[in-house]
């Protein structure tokens, strides 16, 4: 934690997607089920901090990112940015100033670029719409700056190119450049590298870390790759079915995991030359549906160490070390 003040704070965040019920249910006003994509999440990100959000597919990582960037409205809880409550902020002027500070790098670079826009237009779009520049000369300057920062050199070569004229890595970097051009204080990076080969992956991570180092920018790094999270992040938050099960410093989580799910994740991570870690048996069973969460601890049906209490009582976040919490009854001991 480089800075004691939090730039972003999520308090008991909930995002439920309603399942539309039948005709009669609705006529009778009967409530129907909901997909509880995010279900009571508490998370804070400090200035200049890199927090990795890990979890398996469908655990709600992207949804959290969408809430932070105000693409989705949370069902409950609060979103605080620099201490101000942004949860139900809808006025367009307030949103615009929020966009100055918070940007997002999207998961799929092939989808995130409008095929009919040039690189220049794509990177210039935030500058224009947020009115960050006064004239064309300034605009070009800022765009070049951003492209160069994202490792596209010389920037002029890329201005007139359409997305389909770019390689996958270049596209990803254009998305990143768009986010960087704003010079935000927080970037939500949603699996920016999962589909890329290691080399391009390394390039992009380098850029992000450099930015943090140089501009004290905070980063919420969403991934399902634990080694990568360990590598880049200061802290790691582990999400399971919409709720944090463990959060702590990168080293603590990687080397001293306290939640069985984190352990399982680490175990499942393939190792070059290394066999699976002994100690905890493999997970059993299917991931429960986010629409029908089990009682008690939501991990208990798959947990190899589950005991009676887990089935009835949901564990709170329990402090297990400095800045290290785990939501597991085992951690109590």
């Amino acid at each position: 934690m480089r800075d004691s003040s939090d730039i972003l704070r999520l308090e008991n965040l909930q995002v439920h997607f309603p399942i539309q019920g039948g005709l009669f249910d609705r006529m009778l006003g009967r409530p129907c089920g909901a997909v509880r994509a995010v279900d009571g999440l508490d998370l804070n990100v400090g200035r200049g901090e890199i927090v990795a959000l890990v979890g398996e597919s469908g655990s709600g990582k992207s949804t959290v990112g969408r809430v932070i960037t105000k693409l989705s409205q949370p069902t409950g809880g609060r979103l605080l940015f620099e201490g101000r409550d942004m949860t139900s902020q809808r006025s367009s002027s307030a949103l615009r100033s929020y966009r100055h500070h918070v940007q997002m790098i999207f998961q799929d670079a092939y989808q995130a670029l409008n095929p009919r826009h040039t690189t220049f237009d794509i990177v210039a779009e935030p500058l224009r719409s947020l009115r960050l520049v006064d004239n064309d000369a300034q605009l070009s300057e800022r765009v070049s700056e951003a492209l160069a920062a994202a490792g596209l050199n010389p920037p002029g070569d890329f201005f007139a190119r359409f997305p389909h004229e770019l390689s996958g890595g270049q596209r990803q970097r254009v998305v990143i450049a768009g986010a960087l051009a704003v010079k935000p204080e927080l970037i939500v990076a949603d699996e920016p590298v999962s589909m890329l080969d290691v080399s391009i992956r390394a390039q992009i991570l380098q850029v992000l870390v450099d930015l943090r180092d140089r501009h004290n920018m905070a980063l919420l790094f969403i991934t399902h790759d634990l080694p990568l999270a360990w590598l880049i992040a200061d802290r790691i938050a582990v999400l399971y079915l919409g709720k944090l099960v463990e959060i702590g410093s990168a080293d603590d989580i990687t080397f001293k995991p306290r939640h069985p799910y984190t352990v399982a994740l680490l175990n499942a991570t393939p190792q070059i030359g290394g066999a699976a870690r002994p100690g905890v048996p493999a997970l059993q069973g299917e991931v429960p549906s986010a629409a029908r969460l089990p009682n008690g601890c939501r991990f208990h049906p798959r947990c190899p160490l589950a005991f009676d209490r887990c089935k009835v009582e949901e564990p709170p976040a329990i402090e297990v070390g400095p800045h290290h919490m785990s939501a597991c009854w085992l951690a109590e001991r």
């Binding site: 979890g55 398996e56 597919s57 469908g58 390689s167 996958g168 890595g169 999962s194 589909m195 890329l196 080969d197 290691v198 080399s199 391009i200 992956r201 390394a202 390039q203 991570l205 380098q206 870390v209 399902h224 790759d225 634990l226 080694p227 990568l228 360990w230 590598l231 080293d251 990687t254 080397f255 399982a264 994740l265 499942a268 991570t269 393939p270 190792q271 070059i272 030359g273 290394g274 997970l283 991931v287």
Partner: protein, 335 residues
């Protein structure tokens, strides 16, 4: 052609295979003189940068190249017989019963309007001549084999999670008991737990059914866990080929070295990973000589002029001027 197992004809032999895209104007040579062999029950990984021709190689072997592709050189032999990879009709008997493919995106590779059992049963009916009932029974059996409960067989692809779809694809690939399965990035979009399940399944099946596997992936740790041999591709050419142990322990080709160096590993201490400097090569206008030389940390003058040959080196093969071939009977790389 060297043959490391002279006692036995390999299951699959690929000789100097080249594929061009774009029949009009400037053709793009996606793969250029790829040669390798695959033995029964062997698992080979195909690793390389994005755009290096991995998918093209796999599709060429299966005779499934897209319409704008042309095989411009080389041959593929299956059990000693030449495969008519550019003749759709002649390939038909070979398909699925001998070589089956797990495509890159399982969501798109499954027909969205048919139930999964039906899709798995289809090749059984057509290829093995089973009745509909038998084929359905077999499909359910296969689903259970990949860990999908029988009652989910009536589901449509969209009703399944990503991992389940991947497993359906694998079950389908197993339907006709083929000798070779080509898996094209079957686990990229999956979280580690599901990925581990699938890899374990493939390992088990390989030992049970003795099938050969060609696995394409970006993830070297996956390679390390589930393959016997690795082929590294760069710019449409095989630059290195060897056993997993050998390559990870002692990579020869500078590209391989850099590739392995960029894998993060907590055991190695917290070091920021290093990207390979420079940009991927332009396939329409390849650099002269070794395609890697503009990015290579140890370029020599010969690298800029002469294409290195893929020659035997140790237990594997490597195409690099730093490691001149030890024997004379080496593979000539297609010019």
């Amino acid at each position: 052609m060297t043959n490391s197992f002279p006692d036995k004809e390999p299951l699959l032999r690929v000789d100097g295979l080249s594929v061009d895209y774009g029949l009009k104007g400037d053709p793009l040579r996606a793969i250029d003189g790829v040669s390798f062999e695959l033995r029964t029950g062997e698992a080979v990984a195909l690793v390389g940068e994005s755009g290096s021709g991995k998918t093209t190689t796999a599709m060429a072997i299966a005779g499934l190249l897209s319409p704008n592709a042309r095989v411009s050189g080389g041959q593929v032999h299956y059990r000693g017989q030449r495969l008519p990879i550019d003749d759709d009709a002649a390939m038909r008997p070979h398909r699925w019963s001998e070589t089956s493919v797990v495509f890159q995106g399982a969501m798109n590779a499954l027909n969205p309007v048919h139930r999964i059992t039906k899709q798995i049963a289809e090749p059984c009916i057509l290829k093995l001549g089973m009745t509909r009932g038998e084929a359905t029974a077999r499909a359910i059996e296969l689903l259970e084999l990949v860990g999908i409960p029988a009652d989910r067989g009536v589901a449509y692809p969209h009703e399944l999670s990503g991992g389940m779809r991947q497993r359906v694809m694998i079950a389908m690939a197993l339907a006709c008991r083929p000798s070779i399965i080509v898996g094209d990035e079957p686990t990229t979009a999956l979280d580690v737990i599901t990925q581990a399940q699938i890899l374990k399944l493939l390992r088990d099946l390989r030992s049970q059914l003795n099938l050969a596997l060609i696995l394409i992936t970006h993830d070297l740790s996956v390679v390390a866990e589930s393959c016997d041999r690795v082929m590294i591709m760069y710019s449409g050419r095989v630059v290195e080929d060897g056993t997993v142990a050998e390559i990870f322990a002692e990579p020869k080709h500078p590209y391989t070295k850099l590739l392995i160096a960029s894998i993060p590993n907590p055991a190695n201490g917290k070091k920021m990973i290093r990207p390979i400097p420079g940009d991927p090569p332009n396939l329409v206008n390849r650099p002269s000589g070794c395609a890697f030389h503009p990015r290579c940390p140890s370029t020599m003058s010969v690298c800029t002029t002469e294409v290195p040959r893929l020659g035997r080196f140790g237990h594997g093969r490597v195409a690099c001027h730093l490691h001149p071939p030890l024997q004379e009977n080496m593979v000539t790389v297609h010019a």
